[in-house]
Symmetry: none
Subunit: 239 residues, 4 copies
Amino acid sequence: MKLPGHVESLVTDAKLVGERRAQILRAAVKLFSDKGYYTTTISQIAREAGVSTGLIYQYFGDKDDVLLLSLKLVLERYEKEIPPRLEGVKHPVERLCMALWAYCTIVDGLREATVLAYRSTKSLRADRRTLVKQDELRTNRLLQDCVRACIAGGYMRQVNEYLLVYQYVTFSHAWALKHWALRSRFSLGKYVAEGIGLLIEPFLTAKGRRALDSMRRRTANFTRSATRTKPAKRARAPA
Amino acid sequence: MKLPGHVESLVTDAKLVGERRAQILRAAVKLFSDKGYYTTTISQIAREAGVSTGLIYQYFGDKDDVLLLSLKLVLERYEKEIPPRLEGVKHPVERLCMALWAYCTIVDGLREATVLAYRSTKSLRADRRTLVKQDELRTNRLLQDCVRACIAGGYMRQVNEYLLVYQYVTFSHAWALKHWALRSRFSLGKYVAEGIGLLIEPFLTAKGRRALDSMRRRTANFTRSATRTKPAKRARAPA
Amino acid sequence: MKLPGHVESLVTDAKLVGERRAQILRAAVKLFSDKGYYTTTISQIAREAGVSTGLIYQYFGDKDDVLLLSLKLVLERYEKEIPPRLEGVKHPVERLCMALWAYCTIVDGLREATVLAYRSTKSLRADRRTLVKQDELRTNRLLQDCVRACIAGGYMRQVNEYLLVYQYVTFSHAWALKHWALRSRFSLGKYVAEGIGLLIEPFLTAKGRRALDSMRRRTANFTRSATRTKPAKRARAPA
Amino acid sequence: MKLPGHVESLVTDAKLVGERRAQILRAAVKLFSDKGYYTTTISQIAREAGVSTGLIYQYFGDKDDVLLLSLKLVLERYEKEIPPRLEGVKHPVERLCMALWAYCTIVDGLREATVLAYRSTKSLRADRRTLVKQDELRTNRLLQDCVRACIAGGYMRQVNEYLLVYQYVTFSHAWALKHWALRSRFSLGKYVAEGIGLLIEPFLTAKGRRALDSMRRRTANFTRSATRTKPAKRARAPA
DNA sequence: AATGAATGAGTGTTCATTCAT
DNA sequence: TATGAATGAACACTCATTCAT
């Protein structure tokens, strides 16, 4: 996160810095998402943000820096918006489902920006790229905690947590990355419901499955997935 | 795939065209993979390929066209290299596992190029992008056939084929995209073995699981995943 | 010396104007000397002077104006500091030597600024450049007066005064301009002593030379130059 | 002397390189001399040279590099053009006079460029500046050789050669640097004649002075300087 | 068929200058 | 008076593309 190069003209008012950066980043995320990093010019960002080109360089070191902060802005929203969505949800299985649901929802709201992250992370200078990866890892940890709670509570059998978490991550990201192929077949709700059936349910213990079914009964959001038929039966059997 | 504009200088000898294009694309894929599309110059490609810059414009319409064919070259390798790896494999479950294994192996050999595809597809003009997506869909169909055969043969329960296939696709791609996070924890073999445990095994019927176990006994490649213990038990229960 | 354009904000308090200008010019001379005119920014000058950029434009018309006054500041120091150094020195030959010595000493203290004058005078707008040249001419006149007094007193033979004075000027300036080449071979004192031997002594009459020798005997500053041996002898001969 | 940065497009044809560089440098020297380094734009140089801006970067690394080579071009002319002017001149005193004469003539032809060297050498990056200084030192050596020959032949008394040479150098350069002040008082011929009277004649031995006088009688170029009358007398006296 | 010199539009970035506060 | 945020014109430099040879 490089500071502006010509330090002499650094803006000092902290509140203003926050506002201006947000204003410029909003424009940048939009344009980068639409057209990609290299085909977006600083002057377009300036126009979109309603400021002059020079101003951007009072708040960012260079174009690369604008990209870095744009990506961080996106990745930090994953990290910041998942926890509030889990608040008040007590049961580990429910929390896990809710986390996946939340992740997918957030991605849905940031579809283009998510694609941007995949396109552009490698455009960053190596040292800056590291910062972005760390953001991703922090988000993963949120999911990992959910998985662990399920296992610790006996709701999920022993699995390779790390890899399972990555399934959740790629599943969520795929909603953006493969939206062109998925949108005609799935609504977001349907997509998540299927995801739960594919990536959560199979690893639940009988106890875990009961919790899932109970949750499903209560929730309109999670339409029963078509896939769920057989396991549901098995789920009922032990009851 | 726009043809060069100045038709009069278009090269006509079909064999030569093939060779030259291959020669240039090899260089392009290498450089695009290493440095990305926008930071690779035509000049660098020419140098890497051992030809002049002018020549490139006799075999490709423009830089965008070089990218398109580079991406197609990569995506076509998925499509072309999976089938030979399935040859002689008869059992549907084994075929599915082999397909996943093959896909991951190919991605492993084209790691940078796979990342390139994610970075650069959006850099293509819209009409060209469609061509690339069709290549991906054709590859998906290979996997889908394997899944269908499993279901048809009663080795796998009813699942949302389409989505499951996409899990296989993203799982394979993730080996490239998230290699920075995965490489310290998994060998390729371990990764695929875990993938089978996570994305194939849970959806197998008792019959299917027996086939998988039998295959595992015969195959050194697919190390038993640690995750697999419990399901094996459950597998016996319904029997 | 163009005045600021927006007259309404022109500062009027004469004392303040003097102080502020001095404060800013001190910073400007330092920075211009170190880094040159074009690579010094107004922002840097403001920072160095401890004021805001805007303030500079209340005391100077534009950047060019800051340069003009910076150069004048330097050139005026030549003009102002030579006379006090001659005070109390009565003998014309001694006054001439002292003037050269003074000039070189002042240049030594303003080495970078002297280089600046050579670098940047041409950067001034033509009309402003004239002002700077006049400053130089006034300084030259100080030296010219010394030469004239020597000739008038019979201490120096008829020479082209004007050109001889320019020898003194370029000799003094060379201490700054060619310092990179001279510093390893001469101390300032040695340099001036040699200069006297080269540019004053040869033009002295016998009477003048006696005065020079007498001065040399009294002064530690002017080490006998190695060059001086022979002429000294000749000087004694006619005695 | 940095080579072009984007090496891929370096021009290879050696003859062409020579021509193009000369063509561009001619334009650069002209413009830099007229307007200075910083106020001359690459695009102006391109226009003056009749080429495109891009082309300049195929023959020069950057603008700084164009300046370096411009300065070298000028300084090398001193070095290269003085020796031919000395050819056939046998007598050491005559050679020395001729060298000063030659130097001043060359400076006269490169007046603006000489000023440029003073203005712009400091604009070069430090490592490149060294190269320019070395060129100057090589030229100085030409003069130094002449001085030495005079001393060795007993035509000139012992003097601080190094400093005397620098007097010749600054004297010659002054013709350009102070041309605004000198032109109204001296023709070039007069200037050199006076210079010989001030900076050569006083250090000649009787033998040397005879040689000088003989030369003066033969040469129209060197008008007798008004200054010279008296010393000529003195020259006879010690004889 | 092949070359590579030449082009010039386009980009990131800087900085003198203004002006609302 | 003084500030410093904001402006935007200007510049060095790049590189896809062309075309004479």
